[in-house]
């Protein structure tokens, strides 16, 4: 006989303000099988959990329904409490009356009725729950870090220094990411490359880190502790083991007119190139699209000049398969290009650039060697306009979110400009100055007060060119919203930080979720900020949302900590919510007919054919068998099985049937 306990949580007022919790508790007490029902202010608190523990012991409960928040929030909490009281944790279910009820409905009878129904459905389900034992699986103590920007570098170094193996995959020919493109960093104005490049070298030299540059993740299979990852190593056309990085090939390449990606098109590079002088590894790659040899079959000058004989025109992409236990996604972000803005000329004006291009212009190693020279004619801009929130925070026609880093880097840009062009004027159009961070507000103030950047609170409606000047038309909302027109020599748009192209595809390969802007989603916005919904896959840096360097680094170290925790054990415990095929006594052995129509639908190839043999080894029957190590518990096989021979723990046919059946009684 079932002895179910029902625990209704008020969640402070989160639930009780809308749902009549005492009434729900009262009604639930009368459900068949319920022997104990109570409501309390905070079930997840210590006293609340103790109530559960004590009730289990006192009333000899065989099942528990906690009616509170989403099971995604506190299911582990209450399952632990049950275990503490000696009840199998899988005999505990949660009825979601907060996210799915009190927060989304108005106070009233209908909402109370819903809460009651939800509890009844869960009571009927929990009556049929089975005691389950968690599954132990081995852990491969190697981490995969996808992306070699500052977040990836930090995560890789921390994990490697904890004594674990790391495989890093970087799409570009060098690690370093966007941070290596920056000139100086806020709020200290220290040189970005000076602080980053030693870390890049450390990655290359760390014996625990295996680095694959010019490589991408091809496919990912498996689950936490046991992923199998295929990496596509794109052909560099250069033998990395032989090349000594002398760079002669890059100087002799006759085709030097290719827009340089690292300089965001503001500089040129040859067809065989290293993206920037401090690149790690310092090995060139041949850009097959622009290389004269690949285009015409003639040239091969690089091959002729290479003393190390490292050029390999016949090199092909290579697929490498690796086994890893955890994955850190550190793929970073991109900035919206200026051609996104019709009101600013769809990118047709050369002297309207984005923030990242300005970084290159301000960088001592950039295309202008750090001098302020506008792209159209190389003149020093005497009047420069920075447009913050260019296209951001604009649900009507732009990007609705705040990119967070632009206020700070725009202040930095204005300062850098003033430091380089003393007699120049820098205007900043802004909506709000969001300088929340340690020493951040002080920094923007310095830009305004000491360096004299002219801040105008208002948006820019239009920019057009007239007589070689860019006319910036905006409003000054602090001056009666009067129209302001500035004749500028150059304009810098602080465009939105957006998800990297390819983020969606990667998310689909990894089966992690992403938001409407294609940024990866964390498992919980507050309490699981670096985890994804998929166990063993973590997030760091700006692939999650626009983030500045300290935040990215902190998240990366957080990920490294999480992965190190995972690797601290030789085995990990997995939820036993997996499918199984029934077995009965001979001569049936199972109701499974061995049709194996379940086999093709399993995404994990977990369904095997088991031979049932007699004593003499003669085959009696072939039955489906689900490998518990491989099954991830999707249950697709359950719905496919005609004879209902397959069932899945946690969501058994009987549980689901009676959960639905409970509706009838309401």
């Amino acid at each position: 006989m079932a002895r179910i306990g029902v625990f209704i949580c008020h969640c402070g007022e989160n639930i009780s303000a809308t749902v009549d919790c005492p009434k729900v508790s009262e009604v639930a007490a009368k459900f068949p099988g319920v022997v104990y029902s109570i409501d309390y202010k905070y079930m997840c608190s210590d006293p609340g959990q103790s109530m559960v523990v004590n009730a289990i012991k006192e009333h000899k409960l065989t099942g528990v329904v906690v009616s509170a928040c989403s099971p995604r929030m506190h299911e582990p909490t209450f399952r632990r409490a049950c275990a503490e009281a000696g009840l199998n944790p899988y005999l505990c279910e949660m009825a979601n009356i907060r996210e799915h009820c009190s927060w989304v409905h108005e106070k009233g009878d209908k909402t109370d009725q819903k809460a009651i129904d939800v509890v009844r459905m869960m009571v009927e389900k929990v009556k049929r729950n089975n005691a389950l034992m968690s599954i132990k699986v081995p852990v491969t103590k190697t981490a995969l870090v996808i992306g070699g920007g500052v977040a990836g570098i930090q995560a890789a170094l921390d994990i490697a220094n904890a004594g674990h193996k790391v495989i890093m995959v970087e799409r570009d020919p060098s690690i370093g990411g966007h941070m290596s493109q920056l000139s100086e960093t806020f709020p200290t104005l220290d040189c970005s490359q000076c602080i980053l490049t030693p870390r890049m070298v450390e990655v290359a030299q760390n014996p625990n880190i295996k680095l694959y540059t010019y490589a991408e993740v091809e496919s990912v299979e498996g689950f936490v502790g046991n992923f199998t990852v295929k990496i596509r190593k794109k052909a560099k056309s250069v033998d990395e083991t032989v090349c000594n990085g002398c760079g002669l090939c890059t100087t002799k390449c006759p085709n030097k007119k290719i827009p340089n990606e690292f300089e965001l098109g503001m500089g040129k590079r040859p067809a065989i190139y290293v993206p920037f002088p401090q690149a790690v590894p310092n090995i060139p790659v041949i850009d097959k699209i622009n290389c004269t040899y690949y285009k015409t079959g003639k040239c091969k000058i690089c091959e002729k000049v290479c003393q190390a004989k490292a050029i390999r025109f016949d090199q092909e992409d290579e697929i490498i398969e690796v086994a890893v236990g955890a994955i850190a996604i550190c793929t970073g972000f991109d900035v919206k290009k200026t051609d996104f803005f019709p009101e600013y000329g769809y990118g047709k004006y050369k002297d309207i650039i984005d923030g990242l291009q300005f970084e290159r212009m301000a960088s001592a190693s950039g295309p202008t060697s750090g001098e302020m020279r506008r792209p159209s004619d190389g003149q020093t801009p005497k009047k420069i306009v920075f447009v913050a929130c260019a296209g951001s925070r604009d649900p009507a026609k732009g990007i609705e979110y705040c990119s967070k880093i632009c206020c700070m880097y725009t202040a930095k840009h204005a300062m850098l400009y003033k430091h380089k062009v003393h007699d120049g004027t820098a205007y900043v159009f802004y909506m709000d100055i969001r300088a929340a961070g340690k020493n951040y507000d002080e920094f923007t103030r310095r830009g305004i007060e000491e360096d004299g950047a002219k801040y105008i609170r208002g948006r820019v409606s239009k920019i057009y060119e007239r007589d070689g000047k860019l006319i910036v038309v905006g409003a000054d909302t602090l001056m009666n919203a009067e129209t302001v027109e500035i004749e500028a020599d150059m304009v810098v748009l602080a465009t939105a930080g957006v998800a990297n192209p390819g983020a969606e595809e990667l998310a689909q390969k990894l089966h992690v979720s992403y938001d409407q802007h294609k940024f990866f989603s964390e498992a919980h916005p507050k309490l699981k900020p670096v985890e994804t919904n998929t166990a063993g896959i973590y997030l760091a840096g700006a692939c999650q949302a626009p983030k500045d360097i300290p935040e990215s680094v902190a998240a990366a170290s957080g990920v490294a900590g999480k992965i190190s925790c995972l690797f601290a054990n030789n085995e990990l415990t997995r939820e036993p919510l997996i499918a199984f095929v029934d077995r009965t006594a001979p001569p049936e052995y199972s109701s499974c007919t061995g049709c194996f129509l379940c086999q093709p639908v399993c995404p994990y190839n977990a369904i095997e054919r088991e031979d049932v043999k007699d004593r003499n080894g003669n085959l009696i029957k072939q039955l489906a068998y689900i490998n518990p190590g491989l099954c991830q518990g999707c249950g697709t096989c359950v719905a496919v099985c005609k004879s209902k021979s397959i069932d899945i723990d946690g969501y058994t046919n009987s549980q689901m049937y009676y959960e639905v059946d409970a509706l009838l009684n309401s």
Partner: protein, 145 residues
């Protein structure tokens, strides 16, 4: 007589729509209280027998919802589900079971607003159609008769 309040059951997957409905909650977007959510690991797990069972149990409308194509936590459960729904819908149509009462949707973990819209539009639609008496009668009266 009070207005007809439909009974709607939602069969949703744990990873996308259940999480999406959680987001509706955390975003405090209001929707009709006539829906009861049943959580499954994946749309691939949702047995069509449970849909007829829900109608028999008194449901006036059903929502079946999971991850968008390519977003399935288990890679492909939603693709098998999609086919099964097509065939199930076809046989239901043929047998005169009112498929206007079954709403299929993709709601991702990020689409809290869409979830509220789906529930509300389903609720409105079912209100227009009225209670699913022909099926309820079949399942209750005929058993007793």
């Amino acid at each position: 007589m009070s207005e007809f309040e439909p009974k709607i059951v939602a069969f949703v997957c744990n990873w996308c729509t259940y999480a999406g409905a959680d987001l509706t909650g955390t975003s405090r977007i209001k929707y009709s209280a006539n829906v009861r959510i049943v959580r499954f690991p994946c749309t691939g797990r949702i047995d069509y027998m449970l849909l007829t069972k829900a109608f028999a149990s008194g449901a006036d409308g059903i929502i079946v919802s999971g991850c968008h194509p390519n977003d399935c936590h288990y890679t492909s459960g939603n693709f098998y589900a999609r086919r099964r729904w097509m065939v199930f819908k076809k046989i239901c149509d043929f047998m005169g079971i009112d498929t206007r009462r079954i709403v299929f949707s993709w709601v991702s973990a990020a689409e809290g607003g869409k979830w509220a819209e789906i529930v509300n539009s389903t609720n409105e639609e079912i209100k227009k159609l009225g209670p699913y008496e022909s099926y309820h009668k079949l399942s209750t009266q005929d058993i007793l008769a």
